[in-house]
Symmetry: D2
C-alpha cells in the first residue's frame, strides 16, 4: 500500500466495471485505481485514458503486477473462477462480483486454497449486506426485537433485462441476492429450495419464465418466499419482511418527497438497482478498503459465494423437476466461522 | 316518542337536508323522518312523496306538530336563528347545521332561553366531533399522551364551491369547522384571531380570496395555524397535527388501497366532504338519537355555536383591518359547563 | 316482511350470535330480530329478555315460525349443515357463519336443493367481501389497474384463540377467510393447495402447529402464499398484496392517528377481528337485508361455502401428507354463475 | 492545488470542526486537511497529531499559509466575520458555518470585497441545500409540479441544546436553517417576519422561550410558518411542506425499518442533526470541492449569509416588539444573481 491508499486493479470494464472504476477513484478515499483490463482491448484503453491508469494486456498480468494491491473482478460470469483462483494463489485481496463461479466444485477449490493459507482473501460483491435497511434489520434481529425469525416474505422486481437474458439468470443473477441476504439475515443454511411455476406476465420481453416464485427452507425450518419478476415490473422494487415470534421488520422504501396532487398521495420508486442501492455500493467498498487496511476482511466470503452457487444449482434443478430439492454442502472450514 | 324511535322533522330539503332525510330514515335505526318542509314547496313535496312523510306548510307548523319529536334545521343560513328559537320555546330537541345564527346576539338570546329552562335542547351540526380520527386525537390528549398541547397545524382544502360563494364564507362555512374542532381538542377558548393575506391561487374560480391563512391564539397561549383553500385544491383534504410537550398527533388520511405502479406508490384522496366524513355524519346522528332517548344531549351546544359566531366575526373583522382581533364572549351559563 | 323490515331469527347466541342480535336490532334499519335459539336454554332466554324477543325451544321451531322471515346461523360448526338444509327446504333465506358444513358432501346436497328450487337462498358469512379495502382491491382488479393478477401474498395473524383450539382450525376457522377472499379477488378456482411446515413459535399457547405457511395454485396458474399465525402474534393483523402484470395492490391498515413521540413514529393496530372488521359486518348485513328485499342475493353463495370446504379438506390432507393436494370440485350449477 | 486535491485548513476544532476534519480527510476524495487552528491550543494540537497535519498559531497564519488552498471556518460565531474578511482579502476560497457575521453591516463589507474582486469566494454552511429531500423538493417546484408555491408549513424540533443556550439562538442557530432553506425553495426574499409567543413547554431545560412560532411573508406574498422547538422535543425532527396551487410536497422522513410489534406499527427518528443530515454534509463538501476545482462556486453565497442575518435581526426585533417587522436589504450585487 501507498500512503494508506489501496491500489486497485479492475478486471472487466463493462457497465458494472466502469462504475467501480469511478467509485474507487472519486468516491472512496482509501482506494485508487491503478490498472484495468478488459477482454475488449479498446474498452480497457478508453477507461485507462480517461482515468490516467495502466491498461494491462491480460487479467493475469494485472493480478501479478506489483502496482496492484487488490483486484476487483467484474468480468463475464464464466471468467470469475479462474481470475479468483489466480488472486488467491498470489495471496492478493480480491473482490468478486456474483457469481463466484459457474460450479460449486470450483468454489470448493478456492476454499481449499484460502483455508490452507489460513486467512480470507476474497470478498463477494453482495452489496445488500451494506445497505442501511438490511443492516438495520440484521441488527434488530440480533437484538432480539422480534424474537426468533420464522419466515421471510420477499420480492425482487425488475423493469428490464439486458439482451441475451435467459431463464436461469432469474436465479444466478437476480434471485442470487435474496439467496445471500436471506442466509445472512437468518444466520442459517438452506435445507431445501424450490421453484414454483406461476402464471406468466404478458410484459416479459423475451422467452424466459417470468415471474417465478421461489421457496427456501432453512435447516432450522424457517420458510422464505421470494417473488422474482425479472422484467416488466412497475419499478425496480425490493421487498423484504422478516416475520419473527414477536413482530415483523420491513425493509424501507427509499426516502423521497411525498406529493399530494391530482387527488392522490404518491412517492416515486427507483428504476434501477444502481440508483436503488447506490449507497450500499459505496459503503461496501469503504468497508472493504478499511478491512484490507486492517488485514481482516468483512462482508460475504468464499463460503458465501459457494453457498449461493449450491443453492442456485438446486433451484435450477427444482425448476426442471418441479420438486423441492435438497441443498447439500461440504463442511465449513474454520476460517469462515 | 314511539317505540323508542324518534320522529324527526327536517326543515330545508336541499343537498344537505336530503342527505339527512335519507340517513335518518334508512341508516339510523333510532330515528324515522315524519315530516319535512322547504321554502320551495315542490322540493318538499318531492321528498315527502319519495319517503312517504308529511310535507308541512311552514317550518313553524312542522315545529309545532305533535308527530315531530325533534327537528333538524338544514335550511338557508339566515333562517337558522328563528327556527331554533321556535324549537327552544316549544321545548323541542333541535339539531342545527352551522352556523347557529348570523349574529352573536341571536345566539345569546337562545342561550338565555335554554338556560332559563335549565337543560340543553340544541345540538350544533359540527360533525367532526364524531369523526373517528378526531375522537382518537381528543382521547389521546386527555390521556396525556403528548403532555400539554401547545400548537395545532391544520389545513382545510377544497376542490370547489357552489355558485354564489363569497370571501366571508371561507370563515363562516369552511374554517368554521376548524374554529369548532380546535376549541374542542384544546378545551380552551380563543383570546385573539387573525387572517393573514396570502399570495393568491390562479385556480380560484371566483373573485374571493383564496387561499387565506388563519391564526388562533387561545386564552392559555396555544397557537393554531389553519390554511384555508376554499377551492382549486388537489383534493378535499383535511390535515390536523396537534403538537404537545411530549409529541404530536396527526389526523389520519382515510384508509384506502395502496397501489404500486408506474414507478410510484400512491393512494387516493376524497373529492368531497360528504365522502370524507360520511362515517362521522352517521355517528353524529346515532349519538344524537341516543342522547335524546337518554334526555342528556352530547355534541356541540348552543354555547359552541355562539363561540363559532364570535370567532367568525372577529376573523372577518381581522381580514378587513389586517390586525389580530380580540374574541370577546359573555359568561358561560352553567348548563354548558 | 313487515313494513319493509325483515324479521330475523338467530340460531346460536354465543359471542358471535349475540353480536348479530345487537347488530340486526340496533344498527341495521332494515332488520329486526324476532326470535332466538341456543342449545343452552338459559343463554337464549337471557338474550330474549334483553331484546324483548321470543326464545324458541329448538332451531327447527324457529325456522318453521311465521314470525321469522330469515334465519342467521351462528351455532356450533357441526350443527350448521342440518339447520341450513331445513331453511332451504322451508324456502327461507338463511345466513350461515363459516363453515357451511363439516363435509363437502353435505354442501353438495344443499346445492341440489337450491338448484332444484332455481334460486339462491343462502349467504355465507364471509364478511371480508364487504370490507372497504377488499372491495376497493376487487374493483381495481376488475378495472384492469394492475393487468392480470399473477400472485397474492397474504398473512393472517392472531393474538389468541379460544380454549379447545386445534391445528385443523387454523384452516377451517382462520385461513378459511383467505380461502374465500382469494377465490373472490382472483375470480378463479383452486387447482392445488399445500401446507408447508414452518419453524414453530414459542408464543403458541397450545399444542397446535403455529405458524403454518399455506400455498394455493389456481386453475390459471396464479400462486398465493398465506402466512397463518393462529395465536401469539403482535396484533390481529391482516395483510394482502395482489401482484399483477402492471402493479400491485395492498390492503390498507385501518386509519388511526399517527403519533410522533419517544423518538419514533407509530400508529396502533387492532387486537381482534371484531374491531378490525366491524364495518364489514355492518355492511354485510345491510346488503343482505337489501338483497332479501330485492329477492336477489349477493355475497358468498352455497357454491362458495362448498369451495371453501373442498379446499379446507385438501389443505388438511396436505398437512398430513406433506405434498401439494389437488382440489376437485363438482360442476357448478347455473344459479351460482 | 496538488494532484486535484484541495488542501484545506480548518479554523475551530470543536464538535463541528472535528467532524469537518474527519470528513474532509477520510470521506471526501477531492480534499485533504493540511492545517488546523483552535483558540484552545491543546485542542488544535490533539487534532493535528491525530490527523498528522500542521497546527497553526493563529487563524490568520493558517489563512496566509501557502499549504492551504481553502479555509473552513467553524469557530465561535463572533469570530466568523473577521476570518472571512481575511480570506476574501487573500482571495482564498472560504467555507463559513452559520452565521456569517453578528451584524448585517459586516456582511455588507464582505460583499463589497467580493463584488470588487468580481467573483464569489465564500460558501455558507447551509447544508440543507444539499439534502436529497430538499433538493428533490426544489426540483419539483422548478419543474412546475405544484404550480406556484403559496405557503410553507415547517417545523424544527430539537431534543436538547448545549449549555449556554439563549432565546436569541432559537433564531440565529436553529431557525436560521429555515430562514435560508425557505428563501432557496421559494426563490424569493422576505418582506416581513414575525415571532409569535406560544404557550411554553415544561420540557424546556433552561430559561429561554420554547417553543416559538415564526412567520415569514415573502415579497410575492407567500406565507411561511415555522414551529421552533429548541429542546425537549420527542426527536430531532424536521418537517417541511410546500403548498402550491396544484398540490403539496413533503420533506420525507429518513428511510428506516418499519416494525410491527406490541400492537403497533412504528419506525424510528433521529436524535441529532448530525445523523439526520449526515449525507447532506458529505454532499455539501463534495460539491464545494468540485466547485473550487471548477472555479465556480455553488451553494449559499455571501448574499445568502447576509439575508439570513437581516432576517434574524428582524425576527429578534419582532420578538421584542410583538409586531411583524420589515426585512430591508441593500441591492444585490451582480455576482450573486
Amino acid at each position: 500500500m501507498n500512503n494508506n491508499q489501496i491500489r486497485v486493479g479492475i478486471i472487466g470494464c463493462g457497465a458494472m466495471g466502469r462504475e467501480h472504476v469511478e467509485r474507487l477513484t472519486n468516491v472512496i478515499t482509501q482506494t485508487k485505481v491503478t490498472g484495468v483490463y478488459d477482454y475488449i482491448e479498446k474498452t480497457a484503453q478508453d477507461v485507462a485514458e480517461e482515468y490516467n491508469v495502466t491498461s494491462f494486456a491480460s487479467g493475469e498480468e494485472l493480478i501479478y503486477s506489483d502496482v496492484i494491491d487488490a483486484v476487483v473482478i467484474a468480468s463475464a460470469d464464466e471468467t470469475h473462477a479462474a481470475y479468483v483462483m489466480e488472486c488467491l494463489k498470489q495471496d492478493k485481496y480480491v473482490f468478486c462480483e456474483k457469481p463466484l463461479a459457474l460450479t460449486a466444485k470450483e468454489c470448493e477449490k478456492m476454499m481449499e486454497v484460502e483455508a490452507s493459507q489460513g486467512h480470507r482473501l476474497l470478498q463477494m460483491g453482495f452489496n445488500r449486506r451494506f445497505d442501511k435497511g438490511y443492516v438495520e434489520m440484521k441488527k434488530a434481529i440480533e437484538d432480539g426485537e422480534i424474537g426468533e425469525p420464522l419466515m421471510i416474505h420477499s420480492a425482487h422486481r425488475n423493469i428490464s433485462q439486458a439482451p441475451g437474458f435467459e431463464t436461469d439468470y432469474a436465479i444466478t443473477r437476480v434471485a442470487i441476492h435474496e439467496i445471500d441476504i436471506t442466509r445472512w439475515l437468518l444466520d442459517d443454511e438452506y435445507d431445501e429450495v424450490q421453484v414454483l411455476k406461476v402464471k406468466q406476465s404478458k410484459r416479459t420481453s423475451g422467452d424466459w419464465l417470468n415471474p417465478q416464485l421461489i421457496m427456501f427452507k432453512t435447516k432450522s425450518g424457517q420458510r422464505v418466499d421470494v417473488e422474482v419478476q425479472t422484467d416488466g415490473a412497475y419499478a425496480y422494487d425490493i421487498k423484504c419482511q422478516v416475520v419473527g415470534e414477536d413482530g415483523t421488520l420491513d425493509l424501507p422504501d427509499p426516502a423521497v418527497v411525498t406529493k399530494r396532487k391530482n387527488q392522490q398521495v404518491s412517492f416515486g420508486l427507483s428504476d434501477h438497482w444502481a440508483s436503488r442501492f447506490a449507497d450500499s455500493y459505496n459503503e461496501e467498498f469503504i468497508e472493504w478498503a478499511q478491512a484490507i487496511l486492517n488485514d481482516q476482511l468483512v462482508g460475504a466470503s468464499t463460503w458465501d459465494g459457494y453457498a449461493a452457487c449450491v443453492a442456485s444449482d438446486a433451484l435450477i434443478k427444482s425448476r426442471k423437476t418441479g420438486n423441492p430439492e435438497k441443498v447439500t454442502m461440504i463442511d465449513k472450514a474454520d476460517i469462515y466461522k
